[in-house]
């Protein structure tokens, strides 16, 4: 039982990382209609900023994280302005491929900065544990859960209560109509990318929490894609639920698969998110919370 609860907490913690990344994917997708595959690169960049400010410049951890979030958001803005904006109106596939190009460039720069070592992010949690209702759980997972909860509440408030949030929702509904109502659609695109950058930086921080980051860390971000598909691509709520669900399944499989299904091989938990995605897509092509496409022939 203890083991089960521990695997749940670890899975949910990991799921929070996916949820944060999937939120970034979903916000950009919803506002601009583009699947941004630059998210791994942005995440790696964010993680590097945390490493830089927290361990190399030696600022207080919270200040370092704030700086990293802001700077990665700025990076998102710059990418949008330089690479994405000129392609408005081009086929979405072209833009999606372009984001792969952006991702390549970002990751090479960051990998060069990281070097060949594992870099600790200077987080206060490390691998420390805490006893909760008789179960020993790692502090970092609790930090992830708490932060993600706060972020989701803030985002929801932002979308519901602020003018900018309203403008973003309007743009997501219909760009041209939003434009006709005086919404600066270009600025909304920039905003979406900035938000995605900020969320990616947080995810990068948590990827590094406890274990540090290396050149391979960025690949984890791609597992937010099954989370996104699972939740239904264009749904913000779906991104969170999908992220947590994928994390949970991954947590369970990494705890139990070696024992009960060893024939599936080492690190099977790494591909479980993708398998879950395949199964869900065969049953519900629109994902759990996505808008089903109306199609009649």
């Amino acid at each position: 039982m203890t083991r089960f609860v521990q695997s749940c907490v670890a899975g949910l913690g990991q799921g929070c990382i996916y949820a944060l990344l999937a939120l970034g994917f979903a916000i950009v997708l919803k506002a601009t209609g583009v699947l941004s595959l630059a998210q791994p690169g942005l995440m790696a960049l964010g993680a590097w900023f945390v490493v830089y400010f927290a361990t190399i410049v030696d600022l207080p951890f919270l200040l370092a994280v704030t700086l990293a979030v802001v700077l990665t958001a700025v990076a998102g803005l710059v990418i949008e302005r330089v690479a994405i904006r000129p392609l408005v109106g081009e086929p979405v596939f072209a833009v999606a491929i372009l984001t792969i190009g952006v991702d390549l460039v970002l990751r090479i720069i960051v990998n060069d900065l990281i070097g060949s070592d594992v870099r600790p992010v200077g987080d206060p949690w490390g691998l420390k544990t805490v006893r909760l209702a008789g179960v020993v759980v790692q502090q970092r997972y609790l930090a992830m859960l708490a932060t993600t909860a706060v972020v989701v509440v803030l985002l929801a408030a932002f979308f519901r209560r602020t003018r900018l949030g309203l403008a973003m929702r309007a743009t997501a509904r219909d760009q041209e109509v939003a434009m006709a109502q005086g919404v600066p659609v270009g600025r909304i695109f920039a905003c979406a990318w900035a938000l995605a950058g900020a969320l990616a930086a947080l995810a990068g921080l948590f990827i590094g929490a406890g274990s540090g980051i290396d050149q391979q860390s960025a690949l984890v971000a791609l597992k937010a894609i099954p989370a996104l598909v699972l939740g239904g691509f264009d749904s913000v709520l779906g991104a969170v639920v999908g992220g947590l669900a994928v994390g949970l399944v991954e947590g369970w499989s990494s705890t139990y698969q070696a024992q009960y299904a060893a024939f599936l091989g080492h690190n099977f938990s790494q591909v479980v998110p993708w398998l879950v995605m395949f199964v869900v897509l065969l049953v519900r092509p629109a994902g759990l919370f996505g808008t089903a496409e109306v199609k009649r022939v």
């Binding site: 997708l29 699947l35 690479a83 000129p86 392609l87 081009e90 979405v92 596939f93 072209a94 833009v95 999606a96 491929i97 372009l98 792969i100 190009g101 952006v102 991702d103 390549l104 460039v105 090479i108 990998n111 060069d112 791609l222 894609i225 099954p226 996104l228 598909v229 691509f233 599936l264 091989g265 080492h266 690190n267 099977f268 790494q270 591909v271 993708w274 398998l275 995605m277 395949f278 897509l281 065969l282 092509p285 199609k295 022939v297």
Partner: protein
């Protein structure tokens, strides 16, 4: 292929439907294609070793790129899973053609069996995936095919008996056709060719029929159905094109091409490691068709040649750019990193400035000269 009679001096006056659809529709195209083919074959005698080997790889990569172009360029179904099908082909070939009784499984069959089988197995896998493609489109499909790559990487890495396992790998079968070993010096029509040149001839010999077959498919009813599905799937379905059937067909053919290319690549290099069939390989093939030209066969060839030869060009750069180092570490950028950056930026540059790729540049240059002195 039939050379329809053309009116003297008016090569582009078409007088029949067949003429309009001909593979080589102008006399100039016929002459130049023949000349290029002859030059490509004769080049085997004069190419230096390293260049010949690179071109051999380019020929095989072009087969894979044609496959991706059929599904992504012609039929409009974005696939990021090409690496998976390449891997599937490579391992089918390795298992069927490998020596029996070793550390890894092998059946010791000849190339005449393993090469078609590699295409067939990969094609069947493509067919198996296509129901998902039928239900999804656009970015969803891209996301799902991305999943194929990761699952493939895991399976290849864990199936030790078949693939040797991650980080270990296994030997690939030797390319031997009709009693001729192409991975050794070959004596052909009184000329002795080295190993790279022989491989180049083998690659060219397989590429040409496969490229012609793909070009032929693209101009046929099937090709037009693909284009209809790509341009507007609902409209295509409304005019009686079965989406299920043509999407399945596109995926099957494309994967079969990938399977053959994977098998040949493995056989030429002589060794396969599971880790090489990763997302960056898929992106490389996407780069090939985007740089070469979407929905063109000649563009696939150009793109493949460009992407395969690029590393070689980049290796020359450290001499001219002081901040690039040829060594593995140190300096601001290594050549491997520069290469990746160049891929990334080239994809971006072509998408923004020339979406029709190298082929588009070529058509513009050609039109400029055929229309000269008029600019339209």
């Amino acid at each position: 292929m039939r050379a329809a009679p053309t009116t003297r001096g008016r090569p582009r006056l078409y007088r029949s439907y067949e003429q309009e659809l001909a593979l080589l529709d102008t006399p100039a195209k016929r002459r130049w294609t023949a000349a290029l083919l002859v030059a490509a074959v004769l080049a085997a005698g004069v190419l230096p070793d390293d260049l010949a080997f690179l071109l051999a790889t380019a020929c095989v990569a072009a087969i894979g790129a044609i496959g991706l172009n059929l599904v992504t360029g012609y039929a409009g179904q974005v696939s990021l899973g090409h690496a998976f099908f390449l891997g599937l082909g490579a391992y089918t070939a390795a298992v069927l053609g490998g020596p029996p009784g070793g550390r890894v499984a092998g059946l010791g069959l000849p190339m005449l069996v393993w090469l078609p089988a590699a295409g067939a197995v990969a094609g069947l896998a493509g067919l198996a995936v296509s129901p998902i493609a039928f239900r999804l489109r656009g970015l969803y499909l891209a996301a799902v095919t991305l999943g194929l790559v990761f699952i493939g990487e895991h399976v290849f890495g864990e199936a030790h008996r078949l693939t040797g396992g991650a980080g270990v790998g296994r030997a690939a079968p030797a390319p031997e056709l009709f009693g001729v070993r192409f991975d050794r010096p070959v004596r052909l029509l009184g000329v002795t060719l080295g190993r790279p040149q022989a491989l180049y001839l083998l690659g060219l010999g397989l590429l040409v029929p496969m490229a012609v077959a793909a070009r032929n498919l693209a101009r046929s009813q099937v090709g037009r159905a693909f284009a209809a599905v790509r341009d507007r799937d609902l409209a295509a379905a409304a005019t009686g094109i079965s989406l299920r059937r043509y999407k399945a067909l596109a995926f099957t053919i494309s994967s079969a091409y990938a399977g053959v290319a994977g098998a040949l690549l493995a056989s030429m290099v002589g060794f396969i490691e599971p880790g090489s069939f990763d997302l960056s390989l898929s992106v490389q093939y996407i780069a090939m068709i985007l740089i070469g030209g979407v929905a063109t066969i000649s563009g696939s060839l150009l793109g493949a040649a460009f992407v395969v030869l690029l590393p070689r060009l980049v290796q020359e750069l450290p001499r001219f750019l002081p901040f690039v180092t040829g060594a593995q570490t140190g300096g601001f950028l290594t050549t491997a990193q520069l290469e990746q950056i160049i891929y990334g930026s080239l994809i971006v540059v072509f998408l923004v400035f020339e979406p029709r790729g190298l082929y588009g540049i070529w058509t513009r240059a050609r039109n400029y000269f055929t229309e000269w002195p008029f600019s339209y």
